[in-house]
Structure formats: structure tokens, C-alpha cells
């Protein structure tokens, strides 16, 4: 591979492309091209110095490695630079407005990072004797107490690793409860507007998934739901506030109806951030709800994860929740209920969902966030999140079609459709136009119930000035989409890459790097 051009494409010298004169290196000042470690590293290079290994007779049986693995190494300077340059090709909440609906991209306080890195938490092993990890168990327990009180529920399962894992936890608890009472059922009802993880989870647990129809208002059709309930229905999975950004007014009635029909109510709590401190889901009769700590409680999403999805449970479902969990004793000591003690302390548990005790590193961050806000601050969080979303809804509804604008105030996110754009222009073009304007686009094409959906979630950590500038930019981009501006169709123009060919990527997938053929390498 040529050292002159390490980025797999050959910039043409001289020709002034539409984004300014090309350069010899392909770099554009602070926008730097970067090659793959396989192109710049060698298996003989390392960025780590080690003590010499003691000479011993190996105990590896006949399996000692002889063949090379093929792992390139980089010196530390090259490593730091490689990843720093890569990082600069990312958008992030630290850079600007990131109104990705449903994903709740709010500020991630650095205090939480500092706390999670304290040796006492970062450097303890999950299987140390409990006497040596009382502080760690205290964190889990304190967070559990907060979650129970904030939701008004009976118990909480802390181990689920993310929201979808939490959904599974809830559905398994429902299934276990039904089986315990000798009444296995086969169907879970899920609204069309639900996040994909809902039906996927229900199906994974062996349930048939049926849609719940919605009203023209964008809410669950209570009558239709009641009509469908029956002895085969294990339960419902309802997102509240729902993915159209609306509060399910009839939630309590839905719960009562489902319970009356012998089913259970799972609530997708991904949008809990809209109501935390103002509404306790427990008061709405739900049986299980996951909480994405990486959404409502601001643990950083890290470009894909990790998350954490504790599940609060009703009194009816608590006995079936997973192990392990912490117990606080009268004398202030903490212990763990795990395999050993489960039979005695938690006999109906459906079992273990993961090795060890869940996402400790997220627990410390979330608890730090919660304690920082306190009961008063969390209530303010919900209010400001909802205020910001309604401000956006009302400031854009004259230029963008807002299908549920008449359904009452929105909660934490505002939903728009692509109706009224010029022929051949779509939600995608608006998203790419926003990229050039210095924003991360909203969530697009979700929920599925709205054509060309644009789901805008500002969160409470954005200032009015930021919202005003965004609204101005959005209006400008929408006008261009209505006017059919070709420059918009070809956006983004200023990002590290222009639009990427996803079809080619899927047609013949290249998922790992392979040495280029000589021919290719030569050119």
C-alpha cells in the first residue's frame, strides 16, 4: 500500500472539486484522512513494553500457537493519532445538537465518568467475597431503591444489559408467572408503532406477535384492544410515552382490561425521561418496564453501547425476576442472592440472564446522575424535555406536516412526516441537509406508522438558543426540499464522506479487511 495515499482512494491533484481545491494528501486542513491499522501497522510492531517472561516448560499440551494471527501493531504515538483522527470523523452530543428521536441524546456529565473510574469500582472483581465489595453492592442497592421509588413499582431486576435485554427480562417474567399459574398463553399484542425490539423480543420468547391498531390520534385503540383480549393473550407491550411522542391517555384503562383478561402489561420505558418525577408508571397499573439508563439517566451511549436496562416489576411479577440481586440487611451489610441462596430466598426466579451482576459501570454513572438532580431536578428534567419538544413542534408545524399535532401536546419528542416535499425529495434529503448545517439528523423513518417519519427529540439539556438556531436551519432546509434544490439532493457536501452506497455494501458484503490483490495494491 502506498504510504503517500493511505486511505484507499486517490485524490485528483489540482482539480477544484465543489468543496474546494483537492490536496496532495487528500486531507483538508483539520479534516484528516486515515488508513486502516492493517494498512499502517505490522505484526512486528508493538505499542506496549513488557517484562521478560520467566523461562518455564509450557503446559499448553500440544496446542501451542505456531501460525501467525495476523494482528498488526502500532507504536503508542501512531495509536493515539490513529484513533484521535478517526474520532474527528464522528458527530457527538459534545459537538452539537443531536435530536435523535427515541434515543435521548442528552448531555453526559463528566462527573459520572470520574465516579465510574474510581479504583474502588473500576478495579474490583465480580466474584470477590461480598465482604470485600460492600461499597459496590451499596451502589447497586441505592440505585435500585431510586428506580423503585421513581416508578412506584414493587421490585427491580438490575442485571439486564440494555433495553432489549430488559424487555426479554420482563417478557420472561410474564411467561414464568403464567406458567406458574398453569395458564401458558401464546400471544403478545404490540402496537405497530412499537420499536423493533418489542416484537423481536416477544417472538424470541416463543410468542406469536399481533398488532394492536392505533387511533387517528396516534394512540392505542382501546376498544380494538379490548376486543382482541382473551385467554390466549399473555400480555401487551406498550410504549408510554409512545413512539409518536404522545402520552397514552388510556394507559390505566388498558392495564385494567388486560389484567381483567388474565394478561400482563409490559411497558417499554425507553421514553421514561419524558415523565420521570411527574408520573409513576406504577400508578398506571403496569407489571414490568425497562429503563434505559443510557437514555433517561444519561449514561453515555459510546457509539452503540454499552447500555443498561433494569426492569421494574409489579408485586405480581417480582417473585419471578432474575438472579442475582442485592439484599440490604438490618445491620447495613449487603449480600447477594445468587445461585446458592436463590432456592431459599427467591425460589420462583426464572433464572440468570447474564454472567455476574449487570452493568456496574453504568450503575455508578446513573446513580451519580440521579443524585445530582435529586427528586426536584428529575422532575425539572421531564418538564424541560417536554417543553423543548413542544417548542420545536409548534415552531415547525407551519412548514412541516405534523400528523399528530392535533392530538394534544407532545411529550419529549415531536413527530413530522414528509408530506409536501418536492417531487423526488424525501426525509433522507432533509437529514443529509441537516448534516451540512452542523447537526445530527433526527430519527428518520421511525415510527413506521408515519410516512417518511422525522422524530425530533431535543432533550432537556439543550438551550433555547440552540433550539432557535436549529429551527431556523430546519426551516431553511425544508424550504429547499420543497423548492427542489439539487444541492440538497446531493448533500452532504461538507462531511468527511458524501452519501455512501449502502446497496453495494449489502450486495457483496466486505466485513473484514483482506490484503488487496497485487494488482490493486500496485495501482
Amino acid at each position: 500500500m502506498s504510504t503517500i495515499n493511505q486511505s484507499g482512494w486517490k485524490p485528483e491533484m489540482g482539480s477544484a472539486g465543489e468543496t474546494g481545491p483537492a490536496t496532495y494528501t487528500g486531507n483538508k486542513a483539520l479534516m484528516l484522512e486515515e488508513a486502516l491499522i492493517f494498512e499502517i501497522g505490522t505484526i512486528g510492531t508493538t505499542g506496549v513494553d513488557l517484562a521478560d517472561a520467566p523461562k518455564v516448560t509450557p503446559r499448553l499440551g500440544n496446542l501451542a500457537r505456531h501460525r501467525d494471527i495476523g494482528l498488526p501493531g502500532l507504536s503508542e504515538p501512531e495509536t493515539v493519532r490513529h484513533y484521535t483522527r478517526l474520532s474527528r470523523q464522528n458527530y457527538a452530543i459534545d459537538l452539537g445538537f443531536f435530536p435523535l428521536g427515541s434515543c435521548t441524546m442528552k448531555h453526559n456529565p463528566r462527573l459520572n465518568e470520574k465516579v465510574a473510574r474510581m479504583e474502588g469500582f473500576a478495579d474490583v472483581h465480580p466474584l470477590q467475597p461480598v465482604e470485600t465489595v460492600q461499597g459496590a453492592l451499596a451502589v447497586i442497592n441505592e440505585l435500585a431503591v431510586w428506580l423503585i421509588k421513581l416508578t412506584g413499582m414493587h421490585g427491580v431486576a438490575m442485571t439486564p444489559k440494555a433495553g432489549a435485554h430488559g424487555e426479554l427480562c420482563g417478557i420472561l417474567a410474564i411467561k414464568a408467572a403464567l406458567e406458574a399459574r398453569g395458564d401458558p398463553r401464546s400471544v403478545i399484542l404490540v402496537p405497530e408503532s412499537a420499536h423493533g425490539t418489542n416484537p423481536a423480543t416477544a417472538a424470541f420468547a416463543g410468542y406469536a406477535v399481533e398488532n394492536i391498531p392505533a387511533t387517528s390520534e396516534g394512540r392505542v385503540d382501546l376498544a380494538a384492544l379490548k376486543a382482541r383480549l382473551g385467554p390466549d393473550v399473555a400480555g401487551v407491550m406498550i410504549t408510554n410515552p409512545n413512539t409518536c411522542g404522545l402520552f397514552e391517555r388510556d394507559m390505566k384503562a388498558i392495564s385494567d382490561a388486560v389484567h381483567a383478561a388474565g394478561g400482563y402489561v409490559y411497558c417499554d420505558g425507553a421514553n421514561f425521561n419524558a415523565i420521570v418525577g411527574r408520573v409513576r408508571p406504577g400508578d398506571l397499573g403496569i407489571d414490568a418496564m425497562h429503563i434505559n439508563l443510557h437514555k433517561t439517566f444519561s449514561t453515555p451511549h459510546g457509539g452503540g453501547g454499552p447500555g443498561s436496562g433494569p426492569v421494574v416489576l409489579s408485586e405480581a411479577l417480582s417473585p419471578f425476576g432474575p438472579i442475582p440481586f442485592t439484599e440490604r440487611h438490618a445491620d447495613g451489610r449487603y449480600t447477594l442472592v445468587e445461585e446458592e441462596t436463590a432456592s431459599a430466598r427467591h425460589p420462583h426466579s426464572f433464572g440468570r440472564m447474564t454472567a455476574f451482576h449487570g452493568q456496574m459501570g453504568m450503575f455508578t454513572r446513573a446513580l451519580s446522575y440521579i443524585m445530582s438532580h435529586g427528586a426536584d431536578g428529575l422532575r425539572q428534567v421531564a418538564e424541560d424535555a417536554v417543553l423543548n419538544a413542544n417548542y420545536i413542534l409548534r415552531s415547525l408545524e407551519d412548514v412541516l406536516d405534523a400528523p399528530f399535532a392535533h392530538s394534544g401536546p407532545c411529550m419529549h419528542e415531536a413527530l413530522f412526516s414528509d408530506n409536501g416535499l418536492a417531487e423526488g425529495f424525501s426525509t433522507l434529503d432533509i437529514a443529509k441537509g441537516l448534516i451540512d448545517e452542523g447537526y445530527h439528523p433526527m430519527t428518520v423513518y421511525f415510527p413506521l406508522v408515519v410516512h417518511g417519519a422525522m422524530l425530533i427529540e431535543p432533550t432537556e439539556t439543550e438551550s433555547k438558543a440552540t433550539l432557535d438556531q436549529f429551527i431556523g436551519a430546519m426551516r431553511s432546509v425544508v424550504q429547499r426540499a420543497k423548492a427542489g434544490d439539487p444541492m440538497l439532493k446531493s448533500a452532504p457536501h461538507h462531511a468527511p464522506r458524501r452519501r455512501l452506497d449502502e446497496t453495494q455494501a449489502a450486495r457483496k458484503p466486505v466485513l473484514v479487511w483482506r490484503e488487496p490483490e497485487q494488482a490493486v495494491a500496485a495501482e
Binding site: L71, H125, R249, I275, G408
Partner: protein, 452 residues
């Protein structure tokens, strides 16, 4: 409140634009009986950063940390020295505070890194392809069993007795509801594994055989024969690796024809963190790629023909396929995957080999030293950086007694297999580069004392 930018006057102005009298108007859809009229009782109000930091540092100081005590725990979570540059990089806001790369033009940093990560994992495991990470090793393991079921259209999985008991429990939890049947067994305190049992169990109903390499007791065995027998019967071999550093010293499962190789990536870059977040590694043969769970990053070009990366083959995933998806996973363990990838890039082939050699050398010395203690027997013939000791008495109280002497002396099998008498005297001891010979001597002295 320091995290909330809106000022009271902003709020008033915005309510005006919205045409609402008060914030309560915006919650009008909440039924009256469910509305809370003020902060929830019995919970404290907001606190200063200093107060919160103090609360946590007081709790943190109640824990005995691995770096300030002779430390020998493993059993699926290992302490390795992580270079400072790893943590520096993962704290870059552009990595830390980004979401899943849904808009590839402004997520090339994450996508480029994932493409490198997938390649590193595939090579390390000796497989064709790898995905962009799972939650952890235990969930990756049951996702692999589920994947084998989809591929073979069979439901019987045969699990080695050497598989981590937590991984077995997780699989059992899932099997209860997915209708899979699991053929499991308990390990024995012997140098050999139960591969004979596995070979016998493989038949026309078998979807897969699951082996751990090295296994829970630290034993290392060639799995080629199991692969061959499995393939004969149209079944798959799933190999589980809980200590990836081992692969710097021993053959990769893929080289022994495993079809799916999953693992726990915590050893590299991530750290102990009391059990999470960790990172699940998931690799397989190319032919099975469309049955894989989780995200995949692929190479493509942009409108100007420049190389770029995108998430691809999403038709496997929940957001497209919904109830027909290969898994319900959405958020995975991206940032831990980054940490893993950075650490492995720093090490490179040379560093990983050296690190593995160092771990093995120290472990061999420690095993020999500890088994000199009267009544203490080394169970393993083969091991990498972790081995099993048979003590003259129950191991669990011994571990507690060692902790009282400020030695974190391994994991008792009693903790992992509570009610199994045959295993009660077993002690798992892991020895990595962080253990000094003085640590080993301190451990030996304390153990001698406790056993006396």
C-alpha cells in the same frame, strides 16, 4: 441545576410560543389520578458535584481493589494492565457521546473502528467474519446456540461440562422458553475434560456442541475431533473463549474448524468493573453470516468513490425484520469494543504473544509454588494463565480467610457450583502479568497459614 440550560425567562417565552399557560398544560394528557403535584416524597433533592463525588469516594473506599492487594481471581473476568492511552481515547467526546452510527457520513470514526474490530476478532478467533459486538460472553454464547438452531433447524445443544456455569445458567434460562433442550453435565476435578461424553452425545438431533477453550477449570484440549464428529452429523461446533489473551499462546478455535466462536472481550482494554459492562465477541464462518445476531459494519464507497463504511445486512435485525429478526439486540457494547480494539492495536501480534508468554510463565511458576503446600494438589495437566487447585478442605471459607489477610486468592468452585460436594474443595487461581512473585509468595504464605 447545573445540567439544565433553560432559564425561567426562557421557559416563559417558550410557553408563550407554544400557547400554554403553564408546564402543567403540557402534561394534560396524564390522567389526574396519576399526576404527581410535586417532587416524590422520601427522596433527596439535587446535590452539588462535590457532595456526590464524596458520597461515591466513600463507598469506593469500602471495596478491596485488585491493584492494591495480591490478586488471583479469574473465572471469566481477568485483570490485565490496560495502557493509559486506551482510557484517554475512549473518553474522547466524539467516541463517548456518539450514538449508533445511523448517519454514516458523520460516523466514519465509529464505523472505521468497528471494521477494524471485526477484522481483529475474526483473525484472533480464526474465523472468516465477526460482528460489531454483543453484550458479553454469556449472552453471546446463548445467541450462538440460538443461531445454530436456526441454521440446523434442530433444537438439541450439547454443552461441555467445562463451560462457565454462569454461561450454562444463561443458556438454561433461555432454553426454558425457546424450547431448546440442553444436554449438560458438571465438571470433575480431573486433568481431562468430558470430550468423550460430548462425542457420544452428538447425533442427528444435535444442533451444536458448545465447548469452552480454555475451559472453566483452565484446561486446554484440542476440539478438532469434536468438530469432525459434529460436522458428520450436520451439527455445528461452538467454541467459547473467556480469556482472549490465551490465543496469543495457543491455537485459535477456528483453526480447529469451530463453526462459531464467541467470547468475552473484557480481558483487553475493558477492565474488571465488578462484572460489567463487558464486551461479547462473536465470529463465525462466512457461510453463516446471514444468520448472525447483532450489527455488522461493511466497506463501501461514497458518491465520490472514496472508501467508507456503513452498517450493513440490517435485514437480519430487529429494526427492519421485527419479529423475524435473528436477535432482539439493539444497543450492544460499542465503546468496550473500541477499548478492546485499541488495546489489541497497541499490543499487535508481537505484544499479544509476549503478553501471553508472560502470563503463562508466571502462572506455571505460581502453580508449582502453590502445589508445594502440604495437601494442595494441582488439578491441571494443561492450562494457560488459570488453573485449579484441590485443597484439603472446603475452598469457600479459605477464600474468605485469605481476604481477611488482604489476599484475594482466587475463586472457589463452591461459589460457582454451590451445592456440589465433589467440587467444594476446588480453588480457581488466575495469574496474569499484574501478579509479582512477591504476590505469589504472600499468597502461598497466607494459604499455608489458613490451611494449617
Amino acid at each position: 441545576m447545573r445540567y439544565l440550560p433553560l432559564t425561567p425567562s426562557d421557559r416563559q417565552a417558550m410557553l408563550g410560543v407554544i400557547g400554554a399557560k403553564s408546564i402543567d398544560d403540557l402534561f394534560a394528557d396524564v390522567p389526574a389520578e396519576a399526576r404527581l403535584d410535586g417532587p416524590i416524597h422520601g427522596l433527596p433533592n439535587h446535590a452539588s458535584e462535590m457532595a456526590v463525588e464524596r458520597h461515591f469516594s466513600n463507598l469506593a473506599r469500602q471495596n478491596m481493589t485488585a491493584s492494591h492487594t495480591p490478586f488471583f481471581l479469574g473465572a471469566g473476568a481477568y485483570k490485565h494492565h490496560v495502557p493509559a492511552s486506551v482510557d484517554h481515547i475512549i473518553q474522547r467526546g466524539e467516541f463517548l457521546t456518539a450514538y449508533t452510527p445511523y448517519q454514516p457520513e458523520i460516523a466514519q470514526g465509529t464505523l472505521h473502528m468497528l471494521f477494524e474490530f471485526q477484522t481483529q476478532v475474526a483473525r484472533l478467533f480464526g474465523c472468516d467474519v465477526a460482528n460489531a459486538s454483543m453484550y458479553d460472553g454469556s449472552t453471546a454464547c446463548w445467541e450462538a446456540i440460538g443461531m445454530a438452531g436456526r441454521i440446523t433447524k434442530r433444537t438439541k445443544a450439547v454443552l461441555s461440562s467445562g463451560l462457565h456455569p454462569h454461561y450454562v445458567s444463561v443458556a438454561k434460562t433461555m432454553a426454558q422458553y425457546t424450547g431448546d433442550t440442553l444436554d449438560t453435565a458438571l465438571p470433575e476435578l480431573s486433568p481431562g475434560t468430558d470430550s468423550a461424553r460430548l462425542l457420544d452425545a452428538i447425533d442427528g438431533e444435535t444442533s451444536c456442541v458448545v465447548v469452552q477453550y480454555p475451559d472453566i477449570l483452565g484446561r486446554i484440549e484440542d476440539v478438532s475431533a469434536i468438530a469432525a464428529k459434529a460436522h458428520e452429523h450436520g451439527a455445528l461446533l461452538i467454541a467459547v473463549v473467556t480469556e482472549p489473551v490465551a490465543l496469543g499462546a495457543i491455537k485459535a478455535p477456528g483453526e480447529m474448524d469451530a463453526d462459531i466462536v464467541v467470547g468475552e472481550g473484557q480481558s483487553l482494554g475493558v477492565g474488571l468493573q465488578f462484572g460489567g459492562p463487558y464486551v461479547g465477541l462473536f465470529a463465525c464462518k462466512e457461510e453463516f453470516v446471514r444468520q448472525m445476531p447483532g450489527r455488522l459494519c461493511g466497506e463501501t464507497v461514497d458518491a465520490e468513490g472514496k472508501r467508507g463504511f456503513v452498517l450493513t445486512l440490517s435485514t437480519r435485525e430487529q429494526h427492519i425484520r421485527r419479529e423475524k429478526a435473528t436477535s432482539n439486540i439493539c444497543t450492544n457494547s460499542g465503546l468496550c469494543a473500541l477499548a478492546f480494539s485499541i488495546h489489541l492495536t497497541l499490543l499487535g501480534e508481537k505484544g499479544l504473544r509476549g503478553l501471553a508468554e508472560l502470563n503463562h510463565g508466571l502462572a506455571v511458576q505460581a502453580a508449582d509454588r502453590l502445589s508445594q503446600i502440604a495437601g494442595v494438589e494441582l488439578v491441571n495437566d494443561t492450562f494457560f494463565n488459570e488453573f485449579t487447585l484441590k485443597l484439603p478442605k472446603e475452598a469457600r471459607p479459605v477464600v474468605r480467610a485469605l481476604a481477611d489477610r488482604k489476599v484475594l486468592g482466587g475463586v472457589s468452585l463452591g461459589r460457582l457450583y454451590p451445592d456440589v460436594d465433589a467440587l467444594a474443595n476446588g480453588l480457581l487461581v488466575a495469574v496474569t502479568e499484574v501478579a509479582t512473585m512477591e504476590d505469589v509468595e504472600t499468597f502461598a504464605a497466607a494459604l499455608q497459614e489458613v490451611l494449617a
